[in-house]
Amino acid sequence: MKSDEPLYWRSLEELASTAEFRAFVEDEFPNRAPDWNNPDSRRGFLRVMGASILLVGAAACTKQPKEVIVPYVRQPEELIPGKPLFYATAMSVAGVATGVLAESHLGRPTKIEGNPEHSASLGATDSAMQASVLTLYDPDRSQTVTHNGSISSWGSFITALAGARDVAGLKNGLGFRILTGTVTSPTLATQIQDFLTEFPAAKWHQYDPCGRHSARAGAMAAFGKPLNTIYRFDRADVIVSLDSDFLSATVPGNLRYARDYSSRRRAAAENPNVAPSRLYIAENAPSVTGSMADHHFRMTAGGVAGFTADLARGGTGAASPEARAVLKDLEAHRGSSIVIAGEHQPPQVHAFVHAINQALGNTGKTVIYTDAVEASPVDEISSIADLVKDMRDGAVETLLILGGNPVYDAPADLNFLDALKRVKLRAHLGLYSSETADWCHWHVPEAHYLESWSDARAYDGTASIVQPLIMPLYGGKTPHEVMNILANHADQSAHDTVRGYWQAYHKSDDFDDFWHISLHDGVIAGTALPEILPLTAKAIDQAAIASLGATAPAGLEIVFRPDPSVGDGTMSNNAWLQEMPKPPNKMTWDNAVWISSKSAERYGVTTGDVVEIEFQGRKVDGAVWIMPGHADESLTVHFGYGRTRAGKVADGIGFDAYALRGTGALWQGTGVNIKRKSGGYKFANTQHTQTMEERDPFRAATYAEFHKDPEFARPEEKRVAKDLSLFPQWEYKQHKWGMSIDLNSCTGCNACTIACQSENNIPVVGKEEVAKGRHMNWLRVDRYFKGPLDDPEMYFQPVPCMHCENALCELVCPVAATVHSAEGLNEMVYNRCVGTRYCSNNCPYKVRRFNFFLYADWDTQSLFGVRNPDVSVRSRGVMEKCSYCVQRINSAKIDAEERDQPVKDGDIVTACQQACPAQAIVFGDLNDPNSRVANLKRQQRDYGLLEELNTRPRTTYLARLRNPNPDLEKG
């Protein structure tokens, strides 16, 4: 390595330090020149300026418009205008629920928070949950019942569906099929089962494109039952993840897992008597879990099976030195280790892992088994394959699709659409008039979960009632109401159906109390599934090991994964998620074919090349992205793109990876060919902009190094004398707000970014503007690579406004639009801002965002609903940035003052802090010596970003600590 190469680097171009890259970095808002298209620019400019000055003068003379004030006719008792209400409900992804508290302003849901009482949330949320409130107001949602493409009515649909049921009823329901996603809702499952009891020849199929197919099949293989596995990362000393991204949204319970994992790591950093856990991960593409790992074994997704077999050989039998070292560590921590198989690894790997955990004595300690969370666990791939076969054979007369979008996301080799066309009556319930809705006779708009009565189970079986906050905006219906048609009581509401189910569950006089407590708490007490003990996993013999070890065929591999932002595609049309930079490559508005630099060289492709991917005879064109840390001989593609009927946001962006996927290779397969077609595809990444150069912004050390040199995070040359100023220090008499961000806990999941977007009415700008470096997120998560190009360590660092005590932005504002408050907040006064952008130019952290255009949507009525009424909606030409959620500070201060009490530590929780599953962000008063944030800042790991500039940042970081295995440390 050359000595002048930066220790941390952020992209391949930076590492290469090309001339283009230097030019790009030096221009803070790149590519801005072409915006001015006028050829005779100076004269035109003066003309336009002259006219604008006149217009501004004229506009200033307008009077404030008359506004009306509209009181209730009958005001609900619990409602105080100006104060939000919070309701407990639950959001499900692929059937599995996480409890939320939804904030409602005058009956309008505006923000999602986690439910602290709910075991899967403990108060945290992920980015999809935060963004779900935008989906509620999405103007592209389907808004009316349609029949053969024409507007129809719910009444006509009832008649049509009841008619189909009666016809099928003559033959015991023969030819009547229902297709749902994975169902955990006890009420819906009971409704469907009741229907099947009445019409025994009818059939129920379940299919979720990114469901837990492998985990279910693996448990079947190991235990003969589709058991559910729960992990206790807080009790684990050694964790071996076999391609499991358990800290990201692909794994049910991930928010809880992130909390448990980080709490253990944090405790070890704060107390030398607590041993830190050690995380090993084997994976093909960098993930957020991989970024947290102490050891990252880069291998193809197919190679993970071989690694698993190696582990299963045990002791000295393992072939690779990595496996031997991992095994030694596991053996030393019997009963306090976890081996976890990836959701997308084949069932055999899962079966092996169950046996390994049992052999290590982890079962019942760190690995808990319960009955399945699903109401009726089935092999969903054969379930949909059966359906397609029957449709093709003409055995299906009526198909009722409750949610889901199989035309888009069913395995491509099934040709779902061809088979679907043979069904006589096709009805679809869905949030959007999707690809599937297009081919159905009937389409019924589905109610969003914030509009629905329902119920669902969490990763550990805890049931929650889903309650609506608002009447369906577009007359949406729940699956319960559709099933009620089939049960011949179409007039029964979803509320009565769900309540009816739980009334039968809780047969007691105090049912009303039970119901209200369950609704209030957001969890139904005592519904978590009990642990199953004792339990014996099927032992693995040498033959099985040999066969699993031999299952990695050579050749280029393709790996299918849900997208880190939009998941399986159900939330594709959500602009917040589209513009959320995907953690490993900070890409927005696109998916790409990820490939390692070595493989890229071998196959003659580079970033921005459009390649034709051919897999099992199916072809799709996608653009290549060279991903540092990606395994060689492997391609990773993500679902959720290439939509044609998603809506205005998602249509036509990216490529459709489902079109390549077959039932035989659900998650990975070899034998893929790529052929370069053209080059020059432009991605919109937030990665290159706002680079911090070689200033060591992210600091990390091992636990051992930390104990030897506790001051490593704040070396001598970075320290600045406290009084290094010509002016006397300002005395903060009352409060002194500050924030601490623990890089040892942060996984880079982006929940904070979207929480901030939701709380602070931050607009989206679109792909073109992102490419110009104009994304608006107040809180960005920087990603750094460290080490060799093909296998670097990956680190994440959230960067909000630092609220510097010596704020450089304030010095250069000609109109005092950014000034300091008496409590140390760096205030941004939108109405003073004239848009010189000097402040942004002078900000060393590049956290200021400028409204180059009117980014906020001032026209679409339905989107007004999602806005937080406590925060201004900014207009064009105004600078904005993180305010430390000053609306929350003010509201907490007012509450405390009215109670005549001081603001307590914990009264003020910023939106990012509230969302963080790892509790990495802590906000509070630095003048209170006992506050959590003050305690954290006294830690030796505490350091400020660029504090050597004497900016005195109020947001500081706690350095990352790693716990590598000494046996594996590279010399």
């Binding site: 009077k63 404030q64 008359k66 506004e67 009306v68 004030i69 509209v70 009181p71 209730y72 006719v73 009958r74 005001q75 105080i80 205008p81 100006g82 104060k83 009352q734 000034v819 408050s821 008496a822 409590e823 907040l825 205030e827 006064v829 939108y830 109405n831 406590d870 925060v871 201004s872 909606v873 305010s883 000053v886 609306q887 003010n890 007012i894 003052e897 009215e898 005549d900």
Partner: protein, 216 residues
Amino acid sequence: MAQIFHRSSNSLAKISIVAVLLLLCGTVWAAYKINAGSFITDVDVAPAQPVPFSHKHHVGDDGIDCRYCHTSVETSSFAGLPPTETCMSCHSQIWANAELLEPVRASFRTGKSIEWTRIHDLPDFVYFNHSIHVNKGIGCSTCHGRVDQMPLTYKVNTLYMQWCIECHRDPAQFVRPRDQVFSMTYQYPENQPELGARLVKEYKIQSLTDCVTCHR
């Protein structure tokens, strides 16, 4: 060479300099006056309302407390406007057939709200909070004037930032004992400077002039 300009040009020049200066000052003065006048500020202007509701009658004559209708003034940023139901709690019995009250009855019948014209309308980037002001001893009439003497409601203050800041810089001028907050007839005593200073201390009132106190 003959003079190009006549002698009178000198005086003309002097006069025009003065005239231009006067004109400039006059324009500025006029602009200021217009801006501070009720044409722009709407001070003292009672707009038309769907029902000619009289605070004078309800507060002054009937003695109804502010909080009977503005229920959330002590707990929320928004003082609250009474729902139609509150009007009807009396007006289903008295003046039950009055022509004037037909919009109220219609609202109650149809479930459609009465749309009142907003009188105290702050710009959208200002976040005012009623409860903290009321709880810290700022009386209703300090800002809203003697509504008990207003047959039709109008505003008595501009609600300009200059006006807000005047009190925020020195709250002692306007604070009153908490038990007098809802009194319409309260008069600031002679010794307001001393009383104000004492109350500021007692109620722990801060002089908050940070931008983010009101703008965010």
